[in-house]
Symmetry: C2
Subunit: 205 residues, 2 copies
């Protein structure tokens, strides 16, 4: 008997749902793939056909949440650049919020500022899509005066800093993170709008 | 027979020297603690009295290099804030340069933007000292208008981004990193000088 595409999608969704529940209840590191297979009622071998590791499950949830955030944001562009960027980042964080209890160790391993040999492909795809989307926002507001690699590296550094801070921000409604995003975005806009950098040659490493 | 303090220091230095040679020649991940003990001519048990892991050895080298960079920089303060910060970061990078071939995986594991349960104590101490020094530089130029946690988080995000980029920057004389440091520093100065952020309450995560 062939498994229908629909049955596959349902199985995949059930695995993610149970994995998310377990990660939230027990913590990411304390949950085994065996626990997840048991809770989802699938054989371990079957589960590995869908997800090679629990890291991949978690990063799939992150990726789906960020994609949903982008979708939500798409209808709301049209403000100033800083507002658009704030809105973009905030939409993503809102969708990530249910995952917040277990995000720290997951993001740390999958979204590093450092280049690495063994990249989690799902995490790498989510990173790339996020940066592409950010660059579309920039493009819709005019060109950037900073070189692309500078803009991308600084954006990603600041964004990881925001994510890292936000995953363990216990202030009411994550107000502390909100201020951090606000400062980070304005700073970033300042760079790419050409008011910073580029006095050329004066400084040598 | 008691081992003198001098003999201990010599043994410690020899272990670090051999570890550094091996890390550069073979890569960090490909070097085992057994290789290092053999090259340094000490028993594995003795070596573990000095360093509990090769991560600790590598982070000790990083920490020593950054401390040497701070020392070098100390005689050169007195410029504008952006120049001082550039000088501070550049001094550290110059001292880190000999370690550059194997720094990526080491820094990634030890200096993460994410809070973690099992911190490398040597890395954590180096991070804290670097941030304290940065705050001394800020203080010598007047107060910062951004909340401390914002300034510190953004500085550390940008600094990790610089380190990560620099460890794999193959442009001549790391010119690309130089531009990145330049932009990052100016950006940071812009934030803390009060020109960014703080329009309060308009944006909600």
């Amino acid at each position: 008997m062939r498994i229908t595409e629909q049955a596959k999608q349902q199985c995949r969704a059930r695995i993610l749902e149970k994995a998310s529940e377990l990660f939230c209840a027990r913590g990411f590191d304390q949950t085994t793939t065996r626990d997840i297979a048991l809770a989802a009622g699938v054989a371990a071998g079957t589960m590995f056909n869908y997800f090679p590791s629990k890291e991949t499950m978690a990063m799939t949830m992150v990726s789906d949440a960020l994609a949903a955030g982008e979708e939500e944001f798409r209808g709301r562009t049209g403000g100033e650049l800083a507002e658009d960027l704030f809105g973009f980042i905030a939409s993503g964080l809102r969708k990530l919020r249910p995952l917040r209890p277990f995000l720290g160790p997951v993001l740390e391993r999958s979204l590093s500022p450092f280049p690495r040999k063994n990249v989690c492909p799902v995490g790498e795809a989510a990173r790339q899509r996020h940066l592409d989307f950010m660059q579309q926002i920039l493009a819709s507001h005019g060109f950037s005066s900073a070189p692309d690699y500078v803009a991308t590296t600084i954006y990603w550094s600041l964004y990881l800093g925001v994510l890292a801070f936000w995953t363990s921000d216990f202030s009411p409604n994550q107000e502390a993170s909100q201020a951090l995003v606000d400062y980070s975005v304005r700073t970033f806009v300042h760079i790419i709008s050409g008011s910073a950098g580029g006095d050329g040659g004066e400084h040598v490493l």
